[in-house]
């Protein structure tokens, strides 16, 4: 039986990698994938806690998170397509009209 902390540390490391990706990547697609990584790290922590508590509440929560991730992917990718059609770029540094 692997202890809970180990899973939490793996989840934390993956979450931090996703966060670094959001900060340093300029390609919208890579930023999007980093967000998926962060969601998945949260899922892993959720499942680990669920086993520790012996209840299935965490599993239901992960189910909902997966639904949200799917919805987010659909809407976000549609936004990226609209962006690419209008600006012909996938680099977020060139999308700065709304910047102060």
């Amino acid at each position: 039986m692997i202890p809970l902390e180990w899973f939490l540390i793996v989840a934390g490391v993956i979450f931090v990698i996703g966060m670094i990706g959001v900060i340093i990547a300029r390609n919208v697609m890579i930023i999007f994938m980093s967000i998926e990584l962060m969601l998945n790290a949260a899922n892993l922590a959720m499942v680990a806690f669920s086993r520790e508590m012996g209840t299935l509440d965490g599993h239901v929560m992960v189910f909902v998170i997966m639904t949200v991730a799917a919805a987010e992917a659909a809407v976000g990718l549609a936004i990226i397509i609209a962006l690419f059609r209008n600006r012909d770029t996938a680099n977020i540094d060139e999308v700065n009209v709304l910047k102060w």
């Binding site: 809970l4 934390g12 300029r26 697609m29 499942v47 997966m66």
Partner: protein, 166 residues
Amino acid sequence: MELAIFLMASALSIAASILVIIQRNPIASVMYLLTSFVSQVILFIMLNAAFLAMLQIIVYAGAILVLFLFVIMLLNLRREDFGKDIKLKFKPLAIAFAVVLLFETTVAISSSAMLERAQAQLPPEFGSVQAVGMELFTKYLYPFELTSILLIVAVLGAVVMAKKRL
């Protein structure tokens, strides 16, 4: 044996996650993301989450990543733009955030009261499709129905967004 599988799966997952964000080519990034997800499925199985492991493969690997590949294909990115994907100006900021967050996580984990309680005894069907389904359709029926509304809104939003002209 269990420890070896855990270490292999988590190392593979972390390594693939790092490769996702440092790759120049988005298609390669998607492939590494797939590797990361599949190795997390191994961790899910070790945590007695059989249903979620299947769901992870079907939803993430089967649906979301294919969507990613489709969009990358549609975008028709130019190869000379690949090199500009990572901006090193933000690297110190990213490292600072990462160190702080990892430190916080470690402190929170090591000082947590969760670790002192006795581990719950798991029934053999824990995490099976039947067990999670029972939970989903009795205790969490209302939130479960709300997710369907969320999906409808997302579908409508995606169609509206991707349309050329309304």
